[in-house]
C-alpha cells in the first residue's frame, strides 16, 4: 500500500496544533497519522455508546463538535477539534461510560485500540497526557504562565514591570503661567516634591522639584510672582507607559534625575519617582513580614498592605501556584491584622476575646481582591453582664475594622464584621446561634453557615475558638438532616458546563459572555469540602486540607481527591490571574472571565476542572443526599 507523505504531513501538521500532539515527536506523529482513518458522523448520530462494549477505537475530533453525556446526569460535556475520547475506557479496556453523539456534522480521526496502546508505549508525552491528563495539562499551563513573564529573581522581575502599572496617582500639574507662590502652595497642599508644568492639552513642558528651590529661587532671590516656566527644568525626560521600570532606573542614573514622566503620545499620564522604583525592590516576604512586626503606626501598616498586594502580583507573574500564593497572601494578611489589633489594643485587655476570620480568610484562601469578614468571641466571667463586655469589645472592634479598612481591606458590605453587635458574641451566644442555624436549615441559615462555619481564630484567646469548633463538629455530625440541607443547597450551584458551546455564560447585561469563577467555579469545591469536614468532624478550614483529611476518613481514592484539589486551585489561579490583569490595566477587581478569551489550553483545563466539580458534587449527592 503506497503511503503518500503529503497527506501524512498535512495530518501531522493539523494534529500538532493541539495538546498533547504538540509535544509529541514528529516520528511518532507520523506513525500515528499513517494508522488513522477518517470517519464521518452526521449531526445527531451516535459516535460511541456504553452498550458497544469495550472501547475499540481512539477518536480525535478532526472537525465538528461531539457531545458526551452520562445517563441520568443533567450536565454534559462538549468536545471540540483536537480533543480525544474515550481515554479512560481505552486505558482500562472497558466500555465507555458516556454516550458520545455528534452535535454537528463531525469528522473524527480514528485509531484502533491496539495502536492506541502501542502509541502509549512509544510516546512519553502521549502517555503522560492520557494517564495524568489534568495534572499534565496544569503543568503545561504553568509553564506557559512562566514563559509569559520572563523572570529570574524577584528584583529583576520587579524591574521588568511596565511603567504604566507603577503609576500610583494622577500627576499633579500646573500651567506655565502659574506664579511661583501658587506653585509652591499646590506642592505643599498635595505633599509632593515635584510638579509637572503642562499645556492645556496635558503635554508636559517642564518639571519643577523641591531640589530646584535652592539654586533657582532662594539664592538668586527670585520673586514669588515669577511664572513657573521661567524656573522649571524644560524638556523633562519622558518614557511611554509600555517602557520597563529598569529603563526609568537607567535614565535616572544616567541623567541624575529623580523623576521620570510617563507620557502616552504627547499626553502626561503619570510621574515615576526614584522612590517608586526602589520600593519595588523592597518587596519580599521576609521584608514585608519584618516591616509588619516592627510597625508602630498605621501608616507603616498601610505601606505593608500595599506591598503584600504588590508581592502577590509579582509572584503570580513568576508562575507561583495558587495554593502557595493564596496561603502566602492569607498568612501575610493574618500577620498584618494581628499587628493592627496589637496596635489598636495596646491599652485594652485582650485576655478575654478571640478575633475570628470568616469566609475566604478563614479558609486561608484569600485572593488579591478581598474584603473584611471577621467577628469576636468573648469570655463572660462569673458575675459579669455580657452586654457590658460586648460594649467594650465593640468599641475596640470598630477601631480595628476601620484600621483594616484604611489598609485596603474594605468594610464588608454584608456587615459581617466584629463591630457589628450580631457578630460580637460570647462563646455561649455563638453556640446558641449556630445551633439555631443547624436546627432551622432555612436558606438564610445555610448561607450563614457557609460563611461562619469556616471561622478560624486569628488573635487572642484561641482556646475559645477551639471549643466552638469542637462543639460545632459534634453538633453538625449529629444532625444529618442539616448536612442533607447543606448538600441540597450546594448542589443548586452547578458548574457552568454544557448548554451553549463550552460554558454556560451570562447572556446580556453587564456580564455578557462571562462566567463567575468564584461562584460557579470555586464554590462547588469549597461547599463540598465544608460538608465533608463537618460530616467527618475535621477541624480544618482550608478546602484542600479539608478534602485531604475527609478523604482519608471516607476512604476516597487519593487520586480522586488530588484531582479535585488540582481543579480547585486551577480555578483559583485563573481568578488571581484575572485580578492581576485587571490591576495592571487599572480596572476594578472581580471574578468574572470570558472563557472565549482564554487560550485553548486553559479553556480545556477549565473544562476539565468543571468536570471535577461535577464529580465532587456527584460524590456529595451520593453520600449525603436525603
Amino acid at each position: 500500500m503506497p503511503i503518500d507523505a503529503a497527506l501524512i504531513a498535512a495530518t501531522v501538521d493539523h494534529l500538532s496544533r493541539h495538546a498533547p500532539f504538540d509535544r509529541m515527536a514528529q516520528t511518532h506523529l507520523a506513525w500515528l497519522a499513517e494508522r488513522l482513518k477518517i470517519g464521518y458522523y452526521g449531526k445527531g448520530e451516535a459516535v460511541l455508546a456504553p452498550d458497544q462494549g469495550a472501547a475499540q477505537t481512539f477518536y480525535i475530533i478532526k472537525q465538528g463538535i461531539v457531545r458526551g453525556e452520562r445517563e441520568g446526569e443533567a450536565a454534559w460535556l462538549e468536545l471540540h477539534e483536537g480533543e480525544c475520547f474515550p481515554i479512560g475506557a481505552l486505558l482500562s479496556r472497558r466500555a465507555a461510560i458516556s454516550h458520545f453523539r455528534a452535535e454537528t456534522d463531525v469528522f473524527c480521526y480514528e485509531l484502533p485500540a491496539a495502536d492506541f496502546h502501542s502509541l502509549l508505549d512509544l510516546s512519553p508525552p502521549f502517555h503522560a497526557f492520557c494517564t495524568l491528563r489534568l495534572a499534565d495539562l496544569l503543568a503545561q499551563s504553568q509553564r506557559q504562565t512562566q514563559a509569559r513573564y520572563l523572570s529570574a529573581s524577584t528584583e529583576q522581575q520587579s524591574l521588568e514591570s511596565r511603567l504604566g502599572g507603577l503609576i500610583r496617582r494622577a500627576p499633579i500639574t500646573c500651567s506655565p503661567e502659574t506664579p511661583l507662590r501658587r506653585t509652591l502652595e499646590i506642592m505643599r497642599e498635595q505633599g509632593i516634591g515635584s510638579i509637572v508644568v503642562t499645556q492645556a492639552d496635558a503635554q508636559p513642558l517642564g518639571i519643577f522639584t523641591v531640589r530646584d528651590l535652592i539654586g533657582r529661587v532662594i539664592l538668586p532671590n527670585a520673586p514669588l510672582d515669577t511664572p513657573i516656566q521661567a524656573l522649571m527644568s524644560p524638556q523633562p525626560l519622558g518614557l511611554p507607559p509600555s517602557a520597563h521600570a529598569f529603563e526609568a532606573a537607567l535614565a535616572m542614573a544616567r541623567h541624575g534625575f529623580r523623576h521620570v514622566l510617563v507620557v502616552d503620545g504627547n499626553r502626561l499620564v503619570g510621574v515615576i519617582s526614584e522612590k517608586d522604583l526602589f520600593s519595588l525592590q523592597r518587596i519580599g516576604v521576609t521584608q514585608i513580614s519584618s516591616a509588619i512586626r516592627s510597625a508602630n503606626e498605621l501608616g507603616q501598616l498601610q505601606q505593608a498592605a500595599q506591598d503584600i498586594r504588590q508581592l502577590g502580583h509579582n509572584m503570580l507573574a513568576q508562575g507561583v501556584g495558587a495554593e502557595q500564593l493564596t496561603l502566602l497572601l492569607s498568612t501575610l494578611n493574618d500577620l498584618l491584622t494581628q499587628r493592627v489589633i496589637e496596635l489598636e489594643c495596646a491599652d485594652a485587655g485582650l485576655d478575654r476575646l478571640c478575633w475570628l476570620a470568616f469566609g475566604s480568610e478563614g479558609r486561608l484562601e484569600q485572593t488579591l481582591a478581598t474584603d473584611q469578614d471577621n467577628g469576636i468571641i468573648f469570655e463572660v466571667r462569673a458575675g459579669e453582664d455580657p452586654e457590658t463586655v460586648r460594649a467594650e469589645c465593640l468599641s475596640l472592634a470598630e477601631r480595628i475594622n476601620r484600621a483594616l479598612d484604611a489598609c485596603g481591606f474594605p468594610l464588608c458590605r454584608g456587615q459581617i464584621m466584629a463591630m457589628n453587635p450580631k457578630w460580637c458574641l460570647s462563646l455561649a451566644e455563638w453556640k446558641v446561634l449556630f445551633a439555631r442555624w443547624i436546627d432551622a436549615g432555612d436558606p438564610e441559615a445555610l448561607l450563614n453557615a457557609s460563611i461562619f462555619f469556616d471561622f478560624r481564630p486569628l488573635y487572642g484567646q484561641t482556646p475559645l475558638a477551639d471549643q466552638l469548633r469542637q462543639w460545632l463538629c459534634a453538633k453538625a455530625a449529629a444532625t444529618p438532616r442539616f448536612l442533607h440541607q447543606m448538600v441540597a443547597n450546594a448542589l443548586r450551584n452547578r458548574p457552568p458546563l454544557g448548554l451553549v458551546r463550552d460554558f454556560v455564560t451570562e447572556s446580556g447585561g453587564d456580564h455578557a459572555d462571562t462566567l463567575d469563577l468564584k461562584l460557579n467555579g470555586a464554590m462547588p469545591f469549597v461547599d463540598a469540602a465544608r460538608v465533608f469536614a463537618l460530616a467527618t468532624g475535621s477541624a480544618a478550614t482550608g478546602t484542600a486540607q479539608r478534602l485531604r483529611q475527609a478523604g482519608l476518613k471516607l476512604n476516597l481514592p487519593k487520586a480522586e481527591i488530588e484531582a479535585w484539589i488540582a481543579a480547585f486551585f486551577f480555578i483559583q489561579l485563573l481568578r488571581l490571574r484575572r485580578q492581576h490583569e485587571e490591576n495592571e490595566s487599572g480596572q476594578a477587581l472581580d471574578n468574572r472571565i470570558n472563557p472565549d478569551r482564554l487560550n485553548e489550553l486553559d479553556r480545556r483545563i477549565l473544562k476539565e476542572a468543571f468536570r471535577q466539580a461535577r464529580k465532587i458534587q456527584a460524590r456529595l449527592a451520593l453520600d449525603y443526599q436525603a
Binding site: A10, T11, D13, I38, Y40
Partner: protein
C-alpha cells in the same frame, strides 16, 4: 501542431515506443477483473480523486497532477492515499502555477508521464472512481492515458456534483461548487487547489453522502450511478 495530428503522432509513438516493461504493467492492469459495482458500500474500496492541469480547457490543457484518497468500509484511510506530478515538457504559465502551487521545477522533475499514469493505475487497481465534476477529471486522465499509454481509460466514475443535490434536493439550487458542499458539512481543506487536499475534501464529502444514500434506500455504487443519471436528466430539464 494541430490536435488530431498530435494524437495521431502519440498513437504512432505508443505503438512503437511504449517500453516493454511499461507495456507489461499496463497489460497486467488491464487484465484485472472489473469491480463489482453491486457490492454494499461497507465492502468496497473506492478511490476519490482530483486533478490539477495547466488550465480549464478540456481540449487543450494538460494534466499536471493527480491526487487520490481511498475510502474503505466507509472510512478514509490516510495511509492509502496517492499523489503524483507528471513531468511537463513546457512549464505552465505563472497564473496557472499560482492556482495549484506546483512550480516549474516540480513540473520538470515530475515523473515521466507514462510511468506516472501506470503508478496511478497500480494504486487504483479496479476500484471505482469518485470525483466532483467528473467530466473534467475524467477527460484529463483519459486524454493523458491515450497520449502516453495509448489506451482508452474508461473506468466507472461517480460524480458527486450530481449525487449530492439528488440526496439533498433542498440544497440543490444554492449548492453548486465543491466549496459550497464542503462548507455545508464544515469540511476543512488544508490546501485548496492542491490535488491531494482537494481529493481529501471530496472524499470527506463522499463519506457524508453514504449515510444519506442509505437513508434513500441506496446500497451500492451502482445505485448511486442510477441516482446520478436521474439527477442529470432532472438538471437538464431545469
Amino acid at each position: 501542431m494541430s490536435l488530431p495530428l498530435r494524437h495521431w503522432l502519440a498513437r504512432r509513438l505508443d505503438r512503437v515506443a511504449l517500453p516493454p516493461e511499461l507495456a507489461e504493467r499496463l497489460a497486467a492492469w488491464r487484465a484485472l477483473p472489473a469491480a463489482d459495482l453491486a457490492l454494499p458500500f461497507e465492502q468496497e474500496r473506492y478511490v476519490v480523486i482530483d486533478v490539477e492541469s495547466t488550465g480549464l480547457d478540456m481540449r487543450r490543457d494538460r494534466l499536471i497532477a493527480i491526487g487520490a484518497v481511498a475510502v474503505h468500509h466507509g472510512r478514509i484511510h490516510l495511509a492509502d492515499s496517492f499523489e503524483i506530478v507528471l513531468r511537463q515538457s513546457e512549464v505552465s504559465g505563472k497564473d496557472n502555477i499560482l492556482v495549484h502551487g506546483i512550480g516549474g521545477e516540480r513540473q520538470r522533475e515530475g515523473f515521466e508521464p507514462g510511468e506516472a499514469l501506470l503508478r496511478f493505475l497500480g494504486y487504483l487497481g479496479s476500484s471505482p472512481l469518485v470525483a466532483f465534476h467528473v467530466a473534467f477529471d475524467a477527460t484529463m486522465i483519459r486524454r493523458a492515458c491515450k497520449t502516453f499509454l495509448g489506451f482508452d481509460f474508461h473506468p466507472p466514475w461517480l460524480d458527486l456534483a450530481y449525487v449530492m443535490p439528488s440526496l439533498l434536493p433542498e440544497l440543490a439550487r444554492s449548492h453548486r461548487a465543491l466549496d459550497h458542499w464542503t462548507r455545508h458539512f464544515g469540511i476543512g481543506n488544508y490546501a485548496r487547489h492542491n490535488a491531494l487536499a482537494d481529493a481529501l475534501a471530496t472524499a470527506q464529502l463522499f463519506l457524508t453522502a453514504l449515510p444519506l444514500a442509505q437513508a434513500h434506500g441506496l446500497q451500492c455504487y451502482r445505485d448511486l450511478l442510477g441516482q446520478e443519471k436521474a439527477q442529470r436528466w432532472l438538471g437538464a430539464s431545469i
